[in-house]
């Protein structure tokens, strides 16, 4: 009985310390980005909240197993010089323990599936419905080895580049963006089979979508803060699926700007194109 109480107390203490540390982490970072370090999109917030919930739920589970292992290893160890006799208690089954464990683990796993998986996905799916994204800015993304090409068909911009001639992604803040993702080489359109899988990932947006040759995928995201790659390197387009030697270099800078600045940038790009 004393053992059970000690274990329970240790569990509460370790779990409590763990939860306190977790909450500190969750509440850290810009805009409480916590474990995601820098979140600047609507979908990223969904993922972040899911992560936070799971972190807080995992800590008591972790604490329980660690406490049981450490307690048993310390309390029931054979001390130096002691003859290892058979253990006094040889319980081969304990209905309460097994029952609570099995039922508990089933319920916990169903809970984790319902929340945050299903509940989070409902938010993500809702954000992907065209009717919830009226007035979306359309950005055609062409992934080729090893370059991201952004075009804005609504503004007749065929390839958005910065002053160094590198592809760049400009987005207006707080406006839904429809990324149309394709893997193909616009400079060598004669061979459809040259292209490989890529993955369109902006770490600060908290979401990625694979880009698969032969498929057109759509991702609706909304940037929620004005930021840029220069401000935080997590705000960049990074390929997240190995695509050959250039994979680590397949990046593009991102700028999330106010709608006024965005309109000005569009004007500049169209002038560049002539």
């Amino acid at each position: 009985m004393a053992d059970l109480l000690t274990v329970f107390a240790a569990w509460v203490v370790l779990g409590g310390v763990g939860e306190w540390l977790a909450v500190r982490w969750i509440n850290s970072g810009p805009w409480d980005s916590g474990p995601y370090f820098y979140v600047a999109s609507n979908l990223g917030v969904v993922g972040l909240h899911a992560f936070n919930f799971l972190l807080e739920a995992a800590i008591p589970i972790f604490a329980f197993v660690v406490v049981m292992v450490l307690f048993s290893a310390i309390r029931y160890r054979v001390r130096r010089g002691e003859r290892p006799a058979q253990a006094r208690s040889q319980a081969r089954f304990n209905g309460a323990f097994v029952g609570v464990w099995v039922v508990g683990s089933v319920l916990l796993n169903i809970l984790f599936w319902l929340h945050p998986t299903v509940s989070g996905l409902e938010s993500v799916y809702a954000a992907q419905l065209p009717q919830n994204n009226k007035g979306a800015l359309v950005v055609n993304v062409a992934a080729r080895q090893w370059e991201w090409i952004f075009s804005y068909p609504q503004y007749h911009i065929t390839q958005a580049v910065n002053s160094a001639g590198l592809d760049v992604l400009y987005l207006p803040v707080n406006r839904p963006v429809k990324f149309v993702l394709r893997s193909y080489d616009p400079f060598h359109p004669y061979d459809k089979s040259v292209d490989v899988m890529h993955s369109f990932w902006i770490p600060a947006f908290g979401v990625k979508s694979d880009v698969i040759p032969g498929q057109t995928r759509v991702l609706y995201v909304e940037a929620t803060h004005i930021t840029s790659t220069e401000t935080n390197p997590m705000v960049r387009v990074q390929c997240a699926e190995v695509c050959g030697g250039g994979h680590p270099y397949m990046e593009a800078n991102v700028h999330v700007v106010s709608s006024k600045d965005f309109a000005q940038w569009v004007k500049q790009q169209r002038q560049l194109q002539g």
């Binding site: 006094r88 304990n94 899988m197 979508s209």
Partner: protein
């Protein structure tokens, strides 16, 4: 004899020893393989000349490799032992005495088990050194020793393939399984010894083929071989396919052999209900292997034909996503193939060390079985970022569910050590460390199973951290535990408790120091398959690399300690741990014939204390006629 290595007592022999001047099997195998390679390479080029080179093409490299593989198997002893008897001649293969028998074809299961373990350890060394080079490269955000990014990516692929296919799936199953399954079920042999003898020699073929594959062209896909990149990668990738084919063929043969052995060679009285935990682990794993290894072999054959013919299965004309399904259908059960023997080992060792009955043994066995059953239902959780939304929910559900039977191993282990009399020996320490590490691996899997979170951390270093925690934390730590636990059985000698504990703590601390960083790196935006990365990640990568070097040194230290203890350790008795399972009821080191007469099993092996039956097994009074 002064030697501590188990030398089989030779019966007064009517078989002559190998004639002086007979070539050593390994040399003969290499010679025959070399000749076959050159001849078939030339033949293929004669029939199908290449526009690119008069010396080698992808079809010729493939045909030459296949011929060389056959010739190698014939050369190391398969010719006399397997091929000639197939055509009616008597089997004339003689195993060399002493240490030389490990360097040739053998049909004795303990020899084969040790061969598997040593070859697997060799793979661990090769792939581990590649990992050290990778970590050296990752100390800086710019390229250093690898020169080009493609070279680094090839190293990633070699590291992953050799680790997964020659260490993770081979050490505990081909190695410990072949050695201990017959011993633990009271048998003197496996059911297909000739097949088993051949299967082990496929392992060096596979390891060397993969390690040397860059010679044919630097391939960049990593161990998963994703299409369509694999179709356009340079030619070395075909030796990745063929090397994996050899290794999976070896594992498939082991699975057939051990499944049949467990079903048919159990000693009288060894009912299914009394089957040892490790044997349950091997049985479930072997069933998984039998189902899924042919699937990945077919997938890799499709990949090979995609290049050689060529077909358009997996590029934009076909379906790249199809390849991912085909790979992960195998790839997910594969990781359970890796970890299930480790979960079984925990519950094999803890009752012995705690002198306490295994708690909830039927639940532990059910856990292994249900992990096996559910493992084929979760594969698309590797593909959440590219499957239809309708598929994300069911796969996420099954992924959550599979954590339940995985937890049963913890249920049994925690219940066993509770109120036990636990000897904190090196095996105990390593099992507890394995439980801790796998717990972190499993809990981080919880995050990966959650689709909204997965959309962020998929293909980042978070995933790399997760699977290293489950594989190294689960399988490698448990393998070391098993090696220390069974060292007296292998060699009749005991390791040093002090150095064993030092080694265990060394790798535990270094392992966590290395891989805990991976989770943070992934969350901070580090993607996978990068030899260069943005500068803001440099400091954390530097610390990780230093910890990794300490970990590598720790593995070498433990290996050296085991090797030293094998030959120079203090002599141990027949059953130094006081275990009940059958492998400990015969001499240590294990004799050539495991059991002079098959034991009659009277009770299960996991009951200790007052409930324990007085007699677990006995030698029968009358010799049964059906056993050899």
């Amino acid at each position: 004899m002064a030697r501590a290595v188990a030398v089989p007592k030779r019966a007064p022999t009517t078989q002559p020893l190998p004639r002086p001047g007979t070539m050593a099997p390994v040399l003969r195998g290499l010679l025959w393989a070399g000749i076959a390679f050159v001849v078939f390479n030339a033949l293929t080029l004669a029939v199908d000349p290449s526009t690119q080179s008069p010396y080698m093409s992808e079809p010729s490299a493939t045909v030459a490799w296949l011929a060389a593989m056959f010739a190698w198997l014939l050369g190391i002893g398969g010719y006399e032992a397997v091929a000639r008897p197939l055509f009616g001649s008597a089997a004339t293969w003689r195993e060399a005495p002493g240490w030389r028998r490990y360097f040739g074809y053998s049909t004795e299961h303990k020899t084969i088990g040790l061969q598997y373990m040593l070859m697997s350890a060799g793979g661990f060394l090769v792939a581990g050194m590649v990992a050290m080079a990778m970590r050296y490269e990752l100390m800086t955000p710019y390229l250093t020793i690898f020169g080009t990014s493609s070279n680094y990516l090839n190293a990633v692929g070699i590291h992953g393939s050799i680790m997964m296919f020659s260490v993770a799936t081979v050490f505990m199953v081909g190695g410990l399984g072949n050695y201990f399954v017959p011993l633990m079920i009271g048998a003197n042999r496996t059911l297909f010894p000739k097949l088993s003898g051949l299967s082990v020699w496929l392992v060096p073929v596979g390891i060397l083929t993969i390690a040397m594959s860059p010679l044919l062209g630097v391939w960049t896909t990593g161990w998963r071989g994703y299409q369509p990149l694999a179709g356009s990668d340079p030619g070395g990738i075909i030796y990745y396919y063929l090397g994996v084919f050899a290794l999976t063929l070896s594992s498939f043969m082991v699975a057939l052999n051990l499944t049949a052995t467990i079903i048919y060679e159990r000693a009288p009285g060894l009912t299914w209900n009394r089957l040892p935990m490790f044997v349950w682990g091997i049985l479930t794993v072997s069933l998984l292997n039998i189902i899924w290894l042919p699937e990945i072999q077919i997938t890799f054959l499709l990949n090979l034909f995609e290049r050689l013919v060529p077909f358009n299965f997996f590029n934009a004309y076909g379906s790249p996503a199809m390849y991912m399904d085909l790979f992960w259908l195998f790839g997910h059960p594969e990781v359970y193939i890796v970890v299930v023997p480790a979960l079984a080992i925990w519950n094999e060792i803890l009752p012995v060390m705690g002198k306490k009955s295994l708690f909830a043994r039927p639940v532990a066995v059910l856990g292994l079985v249900f992990v096996m059953l559910l493992s084929g239902l979760v594969w698309a959780h590797h593909m959440f970022t590219n499957v239809r939304y309708t598929e994300q929910l069911p796969f996420s559900f099954f992924t959550e569910m599979i954590s339940i039977p995985t937890g049963f191993a913890y249920l049994a282990a925690l219940g066993t050590i509770w109120r036990s009399h636990l000897r904190i020996t090196t095996p105990t320490l390593l099992v507890l460390m394995s439980m801790f590490n796998f717990l972190i691996g499993g809990l981080t899997g919880l995050f990966l199973a959650d689709v909204p979170v997965n959309l962020q951390i998929h293909n980042t270093f978070f995933v790399v951290g997760h699977f290293h925690y489950t594989i190294i934390g689960g399988m490698v730590f448990s393998s070391f535990a098993a090696l220390f636990y069974w060292l007296p059985k292998f060699s009749g000698r005991m390791f040093s408790e002090l150095w064993g504990k030092v080694g265990a703590i060394w790798i535990f601390v270094a392992f966590n120091a290395t891989f805990m960083n991976f989770f943070v790196l992934g969350l901070r935006g580090m993607n996978r398959w990068v030899g260069v990365y943005p500068a803001y990640l440099a400091n954390e990568n530097l610390i990780t690399s230093i910890a990794a070097f300490v970990l590598g040194a720790g593995f070498l230290f433990n290996a050296a300690h085991l090797a030293w203890a094998w030959y120079r350790g203090r002599k141990a008795g027949e059953n130094p741990w006081g275990a009940h399972t059958l492998e400990w009821q015969t001499a240590s080191p294990a004799p050539a014939t495991n059991f002079a007469e098959p034991p009659l099993v009277a009770a299960g092996f996991y009951t200790y204390g007052d409930d324990a039956p007085d007699v677990l097994w006995s030698r029968p009074a009358v010799q049964p006629s059906t056993f050899d």
